[in-house]
Symmetry: C2
Subunit: 172 residues, 2 copies
């Protein structure tokens, strides 16, 4: 059984992702979620509070996504997993990650870089494999992964599959 509180959060997430935070009214969220508008403010104080709750969830989901890579002891495997990461995201979660990528451009949210733990792990991996500049290699690969993620979120993963193989060969 999914609670009305969760229903509100999921609906807001979906609408914010596709149309943007300011463009979506609390009335529309309530209608689409099948609850009264007042209930939004009972559970999440304000519209901003609703967004904050989504951001908290975003942080948790990001950690969960990175966890298996961070914990991977084999540097080669860690790099392969990082490259595969954008392809592992199920399509039904696309709205969620789209919203995260949008939020990167909001002034008060860009500060804490969610990618940093992954970059650190990649840096460690390249270091283990005796790359000359592991830190720079890690930064570059993280840019590539982020770029591929962006493309996948916009156009789907199919067209990017061959690029994945190319990267795994290149870094393998």
């Amino acid at each position: 059984m999914i609670s009305k509180k969760e229903k509100i959060l999921n609906t807001a997430l979906e609408l914010f992702a596709s149309e943007g935070y300011t463009a979506v009214s609390t009335r529309r969220i309530a209608e689409k979620a099948g609850v009264s508008e007042g209930l939004i403010f009972r559970h999440y104080k304000s519209k901003k509070g609703l967004l904050d709750a989504i951001k908290v969830q975003a942080g948790e989901r990001t950690i969960n996504l990175f966890a298996p890579i961070i914990l991977q002891a084999d540097p080669k495997k860690a790099i392969r997993m990082a490259i595969s990461l954008p392809f592992e995201i199920p399509a039904k979660e696309y709205p969620f990650w789209k919203l995260l990528f949008k939020l990167k451009w909001e002034t008060d949210y860009s500060e804490d870089n969610k990618m940093q733990p992954l970059i650190n792990k990649l840096s460690w991996s390249f270091s283990q494999l005796d790359y000359k500049s592991p830190k720079k290699e890690a930064e570059i690969l993280s840019h590539i992964i982020e770029g591929i993620s962006t493309t996948i979120l916009r156009d789907g993963k199919e067209a990017q599959m061959s690029l994945k193989q190319f990267l795994i060969r290149k870094y393998g």
Copy 2:
């Protein structure tokens, strides 16, 4: 002498870039630009029309930015110029490019990929230099350039300078 019409466009550009399209009211644009609110609608029919005018300018500026690279006959030089691109943008133009990067995530704008001409040129360059998979190399480098651009627009270019040198060595 800068016309009021231009003043409106520049002010809207600045506010849209820093706070987002929907978050900025036409009243605030008028106040900051030092014109009446009505004038906005005389020159640009609607708020959406104002955004469209900015998008047209964006397309022109992007072409101008890529032009010297596209025209470069030496493939090595073309690649170096592409890598240097994010560092050549003057700080006063940051709001403009920030807005462009934000707009990438708006549903009706993401379709036409402004980067494609640059990717094609890079692909040609790698081909000239006998890379095995010039197309994929070009896609990857374009992701790196876009990632560096994003970082520079958010945090400034200083911290990225060493990465630029690293890339030029790598691809040189």
